[in-house]
């Protein structure tokens, strides 16, 4: 099914819906043309879902946009054919293409925030598509729009059709985009990273929606993503892209059972899975080459553990059928290699034991941080018209952090996990007093941080450092790496002059960069390398605690693994504690000893990884963990999907913050009483919920600790 067909024009009904042959898209740059899509060939049948996977810069988005001929200067489609329904789209006029776009081929874009026109109502944006391609009256179109909003699960569609995009939540907006996509009943939908910008739980709902819509309408879907978990949950067959080339295509099961290209193997292996337990993530050195700087020979050869001399010379290998012909791989050795075994080492000893007998290094008690709900000096002043008559002036706050307590011991990693808006980032910043706490206490080695004066805090800063999510933004673009790392040393009087330069060089090597990096500017490095610089900068002052705020979220999967391994290494050697913030469950699972699950500014559950990932569960934890799409097509998920969306932190619900969406809500008590964080099943494991322990333990653990990360049997469960 995935080999390009040799059908000629006119056999539209029998042949595949989409047949891409040798597509080539180039971009003109100052340094010559770069090829973003290099002789890509694949095909897609009616009703099928194909995933196009790759890291950023691999060329998948460009390929997708080329299919719809949405490539503008300085880009150009320079070769190949895109045969859709028997006709070559590359031969059509622009006017003909306009009739096809939105109509026979539709797109669901990535970012729900910026893809909707803020000054047009949601309804207008749906109806205009309908009226563009179908001959219907205004009221008919409106009716159709309401129906399509219903289909995608937007409640109260009849009223909300006249609302503006900013009045919807992110998940709802994405549903609108799905509605727009399906509105004219296209034959093919191109979904460009449709869930990347969404939270895990919302992502789960949107993926289900897509599956449902597709099943109902019989639409073929081309799903572009970098997330193998998403692929495993939605696709029939998959294509893997690397540095502009399509390097493998296979049926879904085959891809995971026995990948044919070494890159696919390493991609699958570098994803930290929720249910596997291992010391070190297998990684490849280096990163995907820049499209302007491709190696001669196979693009992957420099990083490939199986590369031979023949691979390094001689140009890109062609995508040929392997084995029984259902898979194709662009590898000279595809026929000989057996990549069915994961390269992940056998289950390790798990994480080291942490000595928690002494005093905690870092302790947070009843921390609160409220922000003004608005900008400017009068930011939190609002007029409200409750109760009729004259408006009253009230002060509104965003309760970002609302009574949070936890501790961190020397040498351990405590995670803060939750979805966007839960307050995890704010907790970290407030605890470090980068923001002033509204209330609560913070102790570092027994010293009350919340009471110290500003100069005392400054000298204490040496002990607590931070690594940020966006590595580019965290390095001053006008300073060299050496200046950035060295400044930290200077500031705290650790070293100056020649000794400082020595140490800077040492540190850079320690984090995996060369000494020469000291003379370069941040923009000369890739994202992963920049993050290494940030780590070096944090280490320069020899801190005891490092707060990591989503340090790998902006990085590609393979680079992510490298950074996580580095952090683990450093922790082993220097016995540094980490406060690790992330929304990625797999990463948390891999790197943390204990974890706190946050929801709407409060901690829902806190305990060791074992404890939190096993029953008893806080209902939110349960649904959060179940929503993660596993990169394992054989696993059926028993996802718990939550209704509605996260309430606004300006107006949190009464009682338990989760009660508006909790699938296990008992009743009034949940609405009236705020549950306290209480110990369950012995000690050290805290949950804030009114349910009994038995009620919280109704499903199995998410971890099977005895499981070894080996071949996944073809049929299991």
């Amino acid at each position: 099914m995935s080999a390009p067909s040799t059908a000629t024009d006119g056999e539209a009904d029998d042949g595949p819906l989409l047949d891409v042959r040798g597509l080539r898209t180039e971009f003109r740059t100052e340094s010559g043309p770069i090829v973003a899509s290099n002789e890509v060939s694949f095909s897609l049948d009616r009703g099928e879902t194909m995933g196009l996977v790759g890291e950023s810069g691999a060329g998948k988005s460009v390929t997708a946009r080329s299919l719809m001929r949405l490539i503008d200067s300085p880009g150009e489609i320079t070769g190949g054919q895109v045969v859709f329904n028997g006709e070559d789209l590359l031969q059509k006029t622009e006017a003909e293409m306009r009739d096809i776009r939105g109509n026979r081929i539709a797109m669901i874009p990535q970012d729900p925030m910026s893809s909707l026109n803020p000054v047009m109502t949601v309804g207008e944006q749906i109806t205009e598509t309908i009226r563009r391609h179908q001959d219907v009256s205004k009221s008919e179109a409106r009716q159709l729009a309401v129906e399509s909003m219903d289909d995608v699960g937007i409640p109260d569609a009849e009223e909300r059709i006249d609302d503006y995009p900013h009045e919807f939540s992110g998940g709802m907006r994405q549903r609108v985009l799905v509605a727009i996509g399906f509105s004219c009943e296209p034959d093919l939908i191109i979904a460009d990273e449709p869930t990347t910008a969404l939270d895990v739980t919302t992502q789960a709902k949107i993926l289900d929606l897509l599956n449902e819509m597709q099943a109902r309408e019989g639409t073929a879907v081309l799903m572009i993503t970098h997330n193998l978990g998403v692929v495993a949950q939605t696709c029939d067959h998959v294509g893997v892209m690397y540095a502009g080339n399509l390097v493998e295509t296979a049926e879904l099961g085959d891809l995971f059972d026995r990948p044919r290209h070494p890159y696919t193997r390493s991609l699958i292996d570098s994803i930290p899975e929720v249910d596997t337990d291992y010391d070190e993530l297998p990684t490849l050195d280096g990163a995907m080459p820049d499209l302007g700087n491709l190696p001669s020979g196979c693009n992957f050869a420099p990083r490939c553990p199986h590369a031979t001399e023949a691979c390094r010379t001689g140009g890109d290998p062609s995508l040929d059928a392997v084995g029984d012909g259902s898979s194709r791989a662009a590898c000279l050795h595809a026929d000989d290699l057996d990549l069915s075994k994961s390269t992940v080492p056998e289950a390790g000893t798990g994480r080291r034991d942490i000595d928690r007998t002494g005093e905690p290094l870092f302790e947070v008690r009843n921390l609160k941080k409220y922000f003004d709900a608005g900008e400017g000096v009068f930011g939190n002043v609002h007029l409200s018209w409750e109760g009729g008559g004259l408006p009253t002036v009230e002060r509104r706050h965003v309760k970002a952090v609302d009574d949070v307590s936890f501790d961190v011991y020397p040498g351990e990693t405590v995670g803060l996990v939750g979805e966007s808006g839960c307050g995890k980032s704010t907790v970290a910043r407030t605890a470090l007093r980068l923001l002033e706490p509204t209330d609560g206490e913070v102790y570092f080695e027994g010293q009350p941080l919340h009471e110290l004066g500003s100069s005392e805090i400054r000298s204490l800063r040496r002990e607590m450092q931070m690594i940020f999510q966006d590595p580019q933004s965290s390095l001053n673009p006008r300073k060299t790496v050496g200046q950035i790392v060295g400044r930290a040393m200077e500031k705290h009087g650790i070293a100056t002059g020649e000794e400082k330069r020595e140490r800077v060089g040492d540190l850079l090597e320690r984090v995996g960069l060369s000494r020469a990096a000291a003379g370069k500017y941040p923009h000369e490095f890739s994202g992963g390398q920049q993050q290494r610089v940030a780590i070096a900068h944090a280490l320069a002052v020899e801190p005891k605690l490092i707060v990591c705020d989503e340090p790998v979220s902006a990085l590609d999967v393979s680079v992510q693994a490298q950074i996580l391994n580095l952090l683990n290494e450093i922790q082993e050697e220097e016995n540094i504690s980490f406060l690790f913030i992330s929304h990625n469950i797999g990463v948390i699972r891999h790197i943390c000893d204990r974890v706190a699950v946050m929801y709407l500014g409060k901690i829902a559950e806190f305990g060791s990884i074992e404890q939190v990932f096993s029953p008893p569960f806080h209902p939110y934890t349960e649904s959060l963990l179940s929503a993660v799409p596993h990169a394992n097509p054989d696993r059926e998920t028993d996802r718990i999907l939550l209704e509605g969306s996260v309430p606004s932190p300006i107006n949190p619900p009464s009682g338990c913050p989760f009660q508006t969406r909790c699938p296990k809500k008992i009743g009034d008590v949940c609405e009236q009483d705020l549950p306290e964080l209480e110990a369950v099943d012995g000690d050290d494991h805290y949950i804030s919920c009114h349910l009994s322990e038995a009620e919280m333990s109704q499903r199995d653990s998410f971890i099977t600790p005895s499981k070894r990360a080996e071949t996944r049997p073809a049929d299991s469960d």
Partner: protein, 299 residues
Amino acid sequence: MATEQETDRGRFTITQSQRDRIARFVRKFRSNTKAMLGFSIVVMLVLVAVFAPLIAPYPIEQTNIEDRSQAPSVEHPFGTDDLGRDIFSRVVMGSRISLYVGFGAISGALAVGAVVGVVAGYAGGLTDEILMRVMDAAMAFPPVLLALTLLVVLGPELSNVIIALAFVYTPYIARVSRSAALAERNEAYVEAAIARGESDSRIVFSEVFPNCMAPMLVQGSLNVSFAILAEASLSFLGLGAQPPRPSWGLMINTGRGFMETAPWMLLFPALAIGIAVVGFNMLGDGLRDVLDPKVEAIE
């Protein structure tokens, strides 16, 4: 991946990377026609102003009643005015006035505006609000009007024109540097500096300020052209440079009366103003293009 070569000049080390960076900027600048054109014009103006006494063939005050109001000729390439003075010489010498005012006023505005803006942008809160309200209030008065009023009290002298214009244009620079500082303040490296324990003043001057210089330079360059125009207007109204100084604006004012009989009295100073202003505008625009790259993301 160039190898690092450090040349130690005492405390200053210039690495290869820094050299590369400067080279890149120069290359980009060169390839931008607007910037190059503007730059050339400005350089030419500066040279003319500096060497004006050598270029001008006639002393500007030399009146020669017999030769008055003559059309352009070989001896007088721009013609003569109603008092027989050579217009070419006066235009050339006039460049000194325009540039003197332009650079002087804007340097003043930059000095004050940059500090006010960056402090306001970084500090935020009440400081920012108050400072910005004051700046807003100052901008509510049209520049020429405000300058005129100031000149009433200060006295219509050229040096007072500079002071008045510096005062008038400070808020514009402050606005720009404030928004630059605001944008930088949100960058993670500022948080990293705080987390490192740096004091506020160190962060503002060492980390934030250098990153704000680009937009300030752009705005400054554009403001020089405003200042030149303003000076021309002020002189035109008789409150700027006083006769017999060869201010371009003043020359236009005089020329106005002879618009039909001797249009060259008007034409050349007007052209001079136009060229100067176009030059600085181009430079400013070009600088903005060069310093603000739009990243072309491919994926």
